[in-house]
């Protein structure tokens, strides 16, 4: 049984590199075939040092991806160990094989056809029951998305921005969705051109919503479209009326008015007291200078002639 599997394995590899070979597929369940048009190839490998290891793989275009796992083994290095591949937790059919110990290492290697969104996911290679390496295949994640809701005002325009990091590949296009209950509906600017406007600039996209109403509050999704699939970013929009900030503003305004009134009233009451008591001292200061202000030491409460 093992020999034929090895044969199959090599045949698939050969097929990838040389198109003309026909694959005879003995065995009850054929493994996934390659597509007719040749896909580019790529290799990802990981070496396991501890218990488990996760490797993130960014996929943009359809590709034949070879995943390699290397494990140094544990203390008692058995000459043979079972190797297994899983996708999203479920065992891939006919992927179980016996791995030989070579150069003090166990090696597992398999080619996967990543053609569409279903092909993406979490691929794991397992050595026996002990060691596991996870490869997380996904389209590029949208990095810069606001986690706090964007606030807009009724009647105003809201600008929602989604940006892919510059280091990551640019999406082919962007789409916008908004949730209506539980469904995601795509926002089509053609349907309502005076309400929505989408501006796509490579790695950035902006959704402009004009004439906001409170019904526009909710979740919006920007979707970066890649050949392999789409990734979503979530932004929340909150529409408020102008009364919201008006409340703290009026509170501050009242505080300012109270302070000013208090200061002026305090001063007026003190000046009334001092005016009655300080008339004589005012006359004295007049003789001392030519109507210039004068201040006595230590006290600043005397009201002057000049108001």
């Amino acid at each position: 049984m093992t020999a034929s599997w090895k044969q199959l394995f090599f045949q698939i590899l050969l097929l990838v590199f040389c198109r003309h070979i026909n694959t005879k597929t003995p065995g009850p369940t054929p493994p996934p075939l390659v597509a007719d048009s040749p896909l580019p190839t790529d290799v990802r490998s990981a070496i396991l040092k501890g218990e488990s290891h996760t490797e993130k793989v960014e996929v943009v275009n359809p590709v034949n991806l070879t995943l390699e796992c290397t494990w140094a083994g544990n203390r008692d290095k058995q000459p043979n160990i079972t190797g297994l591949w899983r996708k999203d937790g479920e065992e891939i059919e006919n992927s179980l094989l016996m791995v030989q110990l070579e150069n003090e290492q166990y090696n597992l290697r398999r080619v996967f056809n990543i053609v569409n969104e279903e092909s993406l996911g979490n691929y794991s290679c397992l050595f026996g029951n002990e060691a596991r390496i996870d490869f997380v295949l996904a389209a590029p994640h949208i990095g810069e998305v606001r986690d706090k809701p964007i606030v807009g005002y009724v009647g105003d325009t809201a600008v929602i921005l989604c940006k892919m990091e510059e280091s990551k590949p640019k999406p082919s296009t962007w789409n916008w969705y908004r949730t209506n209950g539980t469904n995601k509906e795509q926002i089509l600017t053609a349907a309502e051109p005076h309400r929505y406007k989408i501006v796509n600039e490579g790695e950035k996209t902006k959704l402009l919503v004009h004439n906001l109403t409170e019904a526009d509050s909710g979740s919006y999704y920007c979707a970066a479209v890649y050949p392999i699939g789409t990734t979503m970013g979530h932004v929340e929009l909150k529409v408020i009326t102008f009364f919201e900030p008006l409340k703290p503003f009026l509170a501050i305004l009242v505080e300012v008015i109270i302070l000013v009134a208090a200061i002026l009233l305090y001063e007026r009451s003190r000046s009334k007291k001092n005016y009655a008591a300080g008339n004589e001292t005012n006359d004295q200061s007049n003789t001392l200078t030519q109507g210039e202000n004068n201040e006595s030491e230590g006290s600043s409460s005397m009201r002057q002639r000049k108001v």
């Binding site: 706090k148 964007i150 606030v151 807009g152 005002y153 105003d156 325009t157 600008v159 921005l161 408020i240 102008f242 919201e244 900030p245 008006l246 703290p248 503003f249 501050i252 305004l253 505080e255 300012v256 302070l259 000013v260 200061i263 002026l264 001063e267 001392l288 200078t289 030519q290 109507g291 210039e292 202000n293 004068n294 201040e295 030491e297 230590g298 006290s299 600043s300 009201r303 002057q304 000049k306 108001v307």
Partner: protein, 462 residues
């Protein structure tokens, strides 16, 4: 600063209040109003990201908003000073507070970028111009021996408030978007009005001019009165010009590290976090420097002008050392030099304004400050583009830091040409001279306005 002075001043006819008492209340008012002017201006950066996104404009166009605000504030400083001389300081500051708040409130309704230039830039800038110089002059007029400490405490608000405003503005923008946040900021700015209300009307020192001109209308024509309110006569006096020139040269180099230190640290190979931390540390030592220098100056051990020269010289030296320390690769060296630079830069701000009444006399201080602000600001506008240009030409910041430090040292040398610089004691301050003038009556006022060169010899007291 001998013991004889306070007694003499208390008998003078200037409105120099005693140290303490209501003066400290005014220091508190200055603390609040300065933080709402400069602290607010420094934290407006939080809004810029929102503006760029909403108005779809470049960062450069958005940064013009705060440049316009700052330029308007400094341009209208002489106007604020003149209005205080002509009318009532209290009313001027209260109106300034209303304008500052109004500008921000109107900005919350902006639909185009131009609206922001006009509201946040011009209207609020005008309000700020009517607030800052009068408040500083009022506080200085209320202190004699503790003047620098009072100023240091008041100016420390700029650094402290920008620490507090950054998270506050961030919170406001997250909760209410930029429109609501600007509205609330406008309300906060209205708090300048009670600060202005705390100014007692009798603190004005230009009263005699008004009295004299009222009794002689044919002589004091409108133009002459305006020029006396603006203290334009100061522009013809050598000590004032020398001092203003020195401060302007200092201004060219002073702001450069604030703008370029982070970029320079990144270029020298430090991480973003490390560079930002250096900047914050320099800001903290700046606050410390302001208060410490204020306290130290008032001990009276040295003349204010000598202390100012020393701090300016040190700041220049440390700016020049900044690229040297970072090029050596040592983070500790960069941190130490930045802390020293921050301390000396803060220290000199406390003293810069306090020297003005020693040169021009307390009664002309208000106008003197206004003109000083206007002239030094135009120099400040040159500094950052020049250093940016040097950086573009040479590829790194070494040349621009060296030139900036050089400008500060040049400023020190300019200030050394002030008359009586090398004497150990302060010469008798000009206000004594004006006391005698007022005893003589009208002639002094008209001489001040009309024939200046002869009188400046007498007024060259510093």
């Amino acid at each position: 600063m001998t013991d004889v002075k306070p007694k003499a001043e208390s008998q003078s006819d200037e409105a120099e209040g005693p140290d303490g008492g209501w003066g400290w209340v005014l220091v508190g008012a200055m603390f609040v109003s300065t933080s709402l002017v400069f602290g607010l201006m420094r934290s407006l950066g939080i809004f810029f990201v929102e503006f760029v996104q909403y108005f779809d404009e470049s960062a450069q166009a958005i940064s013009w908003i705060s440049s316009t605000g700052l330029a308007t504030q400094q341009f209208f400083s002489p106007l604020g000073a003149a209005l205080c001389n002509a009318y009532n300081t209290r009313v001027v500051v209260m109106i300034g507070g209303c304008l500052a708040g109004l500008g921000l409130i109107l900005a919350s309704q902006a639909t185009r970028l131009v609206h922001l230039y006009l509201t946040m830039g011009v209207i609020s800038g005008l309000g700020w111009g009517l607030v800052f110089t009068p408040m500083v002059a009022t506080v200085m007029a209320n202190f004699t021996r503790r003047r620098t400490l009072a100023l240091g405490l008041g100016f420390s608000s700029i650094g402290l408030s920008s620490f507090a405003f950054n998270p506050l503005f961030q919170l406001l923008v997250e909760k209410y978007a930029w429109r609501g946040a600007l509205l609330i900021l406008g309300g906060l700015s209205l708090n300048i009005v009670p600060c202005g209300a705390l100014i007692r009307p009798q603190r004005r020192s230009k009263a005699p001019a008004k009295v004299d001109s009222e009794t002689n209308p044919p002589r004091a024509s409108l133009l002459q009165r305006v020029s006396s309110y603006l203290e334009l006569s100061l522009l013809f006096e050598r000590p004032y010009i020398t001092y203003t020139l020195g401060v302007s040269l200092m201004n060219v180099g002073y702001f450069v590290p604030y703008f370029h230190l982070v970029a320079h640290s990144r270029q020298a190979g430090f991480s973003e976090y490390q560079a930002a931390f250096v900047m914050s540390a320099a800001g903290a030592s700046d606050i410390l420097g302001r208060v410490a220098s204020g306290w130290f100056s008032d001990l009276g051990l040295f003349r204010l002008i000598h202390l100012l020269s020393m701090w300016t010289f040190l700041a220049g030296v440390f700016i020049m050392l900044l690229p040297v320390s970072s090029l050596s690769g040592s983070y500790a060296a960069l941190m130490v030099i930045s802390l020293l630079y921050g301390f000396s830069a803060g220290a000199l701000t406390s003293v810069v304004f306090a020297v003005v009444p020693l040169i021009v006399g307390v009664e002309r201080m208000m106008g003197g400050l206004g003109l000083l602000q206007l002239i030094e600001s135009s120099a400040g506008l040159l500094g950052t583009p020049l250093s940016g240009f040097l950086k573009d030409v040479t590829g790194n910041y070494v040349a621009s830091f060296m030139v900036s430090g050089g400008f500060l040292i040049l400023a020190t040398l300019t200030m050394a040409t002030l008359p009586h610089f090398f004497s150990c004691r302060d010469p008798p301050p000009p206000q004594k001279r004006s006391l005698n003038d007022k005893d003589k009556g009208l002639h002094s006022e008209l001489e001040q306005i009309n024939s200046l060169p002869a009188d400046t010899n007498h007024r060259e007291e510093l």
